[in-house]
Amino acid sequence: MTTVDAFIAANRFGLGPKGGYLGGIATDPQSWLLRQLGTEDGALPYLKGLPSSEEIVRAWMQARGSREMRKMFNKNRVKPLFRREIRLRTRAAIETDTPFRERLVRFWSNHFTVSITKGRVRGIAGAFEREAIRPFVTGNFGEMLLAVTRHPAMLVYLDNQTSVGPTSRVGERRGKGLNENLAREILELHTLGVNGGYTQNDVIALAKMLTGWSVAGKRSSQVGQFKFSPRRHEPGTKQLLGKRYPEEGEQEAEQALRDLADHPSTARFIATKLARHFVVDNPSKDVIDQLQRKFRETDGDLGAMARELITLGTVWDQPLTKVKSPGELVISAFRMLGLPEKSKHLIQPLRLLGQLPFSAPSPAGWPDTASDWVSPESLLRRIEMMDLLARRQNKRHDPVTLAEQAFGPVAREETLLAIKRAPSRRAAHALLLTSPEFQRR
């Protein structure tokens, strides 16, 4: 077992070694990864005490009497809650001893993006990840898809809350109609993929099936929870991807989501995205085929998919194939250097490098290739930010030892030499954080 494997395990599949120390991983990197899939989520202790989406939505519904009250609620409750949520989430990623699990959480959270670019999502974006993503990352894809689609954050983010069957009771009385947003993104971004073989009629059919999937209002006893509202549901048989779904209320969309999770296009789409994220920007057909087969064989067992990623020969062949996203870069820097002294310095680098948690620009989530993250402008920003982190760093690490430890056998002579020759400690730390060995994973 070489330490190159340890480096790959810690960086390609993890969030960088804590304190730069690869020692604990080096004895058996693969088992180190596998163990994380079988144990409890190491981030959970750091996320204790955060409110559930139900609590937040209930409080919000009760507060929204007037415009003024809504404003106050946002200012006094939602904003501080969001800040706390993203601080704890970031801290959890820095501290966790199951970083592979954490990477899977981030991957799936990004696959099923909800974003505060829609203001009403702000209070419950974090709860969405805690409730609909985190518990499922080694579970079943179809179950995750259901949990995600029923979650208030997704129903609000993609407007299903306001979608009404045109010939439903509410639709006829108030002249309201469909909103296709959620249905389209489920087909295009969550399951089949844009070339997965669906048409505009399929979008409309799924949108009809999803009518009535909403969040219970304040007059309901289940306020803040998922609720199926028959009065908004479009009645009648629907046809999706050639299959007829007789009228069955809430169960229609549930069945449709299960069928979509089982669709071969979904297996292909998920396999491609996982390979692109964990292996290389342009994964080979063989790698995608292998992952796709595993998805089909196991009916979308995401734990099995994660294990399959580790067993791919090609991921151990070559280190540093991927450029880190800003989020991965900042988290790995803090894992190496330790938490910043001021808590505001925890989030600021993420914001300034353009990857504030839960704020992806569109439902497609953050992009996942080097050309999306490294432009001339953004690279200069990265370097500036790493230099700033180096300046704020005042622990007594020796940068050369740190580099030798953290980069292990992938460290190039010239990088170590440059760090050794740096004119100051700050400059040495800055070089450590900006070197190709640290910018890539």
Partner: protein
């Protein structure tokens, strides 16, 4: 064709040498004096709200819930009006410096943002068919000496400008600049890294060039596509393009157009965004005044939106949309469209404005008539398979 590797070495060599020369000398005697700004509105602007077809007999009935009050619109001609929030552009229209293109769309019928944006930018007949952007391919003939006449405004180079022709980029500073020795050392550490190496040398080169014109422009933190940032980006782009030894062709992005819910009419979400767009374009035109006669600003979006209101007082992804041409070089003062009409039989798929012009036709006209890119180059490399792409009717660029 140069291989990718040759190109990278060439680019990094220029980058290093220029980073140390006086910034103002980065570019002498650019190969063209013409200016082009491409503004990409991401999310799908509702063209029927921006430029309502008031003369169409079906307009009022179909747009129920989204109609602007008549006295609140600005009349362009007998058939079309302009949203009140675009008022800062009215004088340009009157002077003949602005043309509105209506019922235009890309060549692929798709209601996916991501595919529609991709095809808007790659210039192919389909999404993901070509990996680089059409503007970058056009730059390879406009900017033969690789003087970085192209400029990406914002933190990321938009796909339309990505490719093998090196382009400059600018974004406002938010973090203190890195020490020179760090950048110098990284220059050599990144040499064998094709991605990081190229980006660093391009970045340093761009910094030198734009620093000379703009100094250190500060801007509030946040997303560069946020509509509220558009004016600052437009202003800086204008200053850079107006400078003598600087870029000539810029791309700016602006988000916030995906109005699925509560779109509004006279006021509201869309009205606010249109206002921000108009103010930004007006600022851009002020900055470009010295070169206004040589300027074309082209504002496009990935698709229009559904003609009817959806269940959430918004509109869903549609097909035919609107575009704007603005600038002293524009033969404007008119709405250029083969108007398909909003009759039930004319709507695309029974729900969208039918496109009668191809976005590639518009881009080809601008590149050919304004920037003198030859037809053969346009057909062969910039927009392959675009012979049948229908341009908007009439003359768009003054001769």
């Amino acid at each position: 064709m140069t291989s990718r590797r040759d190109f990278l070495i060439g680019a990094s060599a220029t980058g290093v040498s220029c980073a140390f020369s006086a910034p103002g000398l980065a570019l002498a005697n650019a190969d063209t004096g013409k200016r082009l700004v491409l503004v990409v509105l991401r999310g799908g602007m509702d063209g029927l709200a921006a430029f309502p077809p008031i003369g169409d007999p079906n307009y009022e009935a179909l747009r129920r819930g989204l109609l602007q009050t008549m006295d609140n619109t600005i009349k362009l001609d007998r058939r079309f009006a302009m949203h009140r929030s675009l008022a800062p552009l009215a004088t340009h229209y009157k002077k003949g410096d602005m043309a509105v293109i209506h019922a235009i769309a890309g060549p692929q019928r798709t209601r996916s943002h991501f595919d529609a944006q991709n095809v808007l930018e790659n210039g192919a007949t389909k999404a993901h068919l070509l990996l680089d952007g059409w503007l970058n391919r056009a730059l390879s003939v406009i900017d033969k000496r690789k003087q970085r006449l192209g400029l990406a405004v914002g933190y990321n180079t938009p796909p339309v400008m990505r490719g093998t022709t090196p382009v400059a980029s600018w974004a406002p500073a938010r973090i203190p600049p890195s020490p020179t020795h760090l950048l110098d050392t990284l220059g050599s550490l990144y040499k064998s890294d094709p991605v990081l190496g190229r980006a660093l040398s391009e970045g340093r080169r761009a910094q030198a060039m734009t620093g000379a014109v703009l100094g250190n422009t500060k801007m509030k933190r946040g997303n560069m596509r946020n509509p509220g940032r558009f004016k600052t980006l437009a202003e800086s782009a204008g200053r850079l393009l107006a400078a003598e030894q600087s870029a000539r062709i810029a791309v700016i992005e602006m988000g916030g157009w995906d109005t699925h819910a509560n779109q509004g009419a006279d006021t509201g979400r869309l009205a606010r965004n249109l206002g921000l767009l108009a103010n930004g374009l007006d600022e851009l035109s002020n900055r470009l005044k010295p070169v206004w006669q040589d300027t074309v600003i082209c504002v496009v979006t990935e698709f229009g939106r559904t003609v009817r209101m959806n269940g959430s007082k918004g509109t869903d992804h549609g097909t035919g949309g609107a575009a704007i041409l603005l600038g002293g070089a524009v033969a404007g003062g008119r709405v250029a469209t083969h108007w398909p009409g909003l009759g039930e039989d004319s709507l695309y798929g029974g729900r969208d404005l039918a496109p009668t012009a191809d976005m590639r036709g518009l881009f080809k006209t601008v590149l050919h008539d304004h920037l003198n890119v030859s037809s053969s180059t346009l057909e062969s490399s910039v927009f392959p398979d675009s012979k049948n792409a229908i341009p908007p009717p009439g003359k768009l660029i003054r001769s």
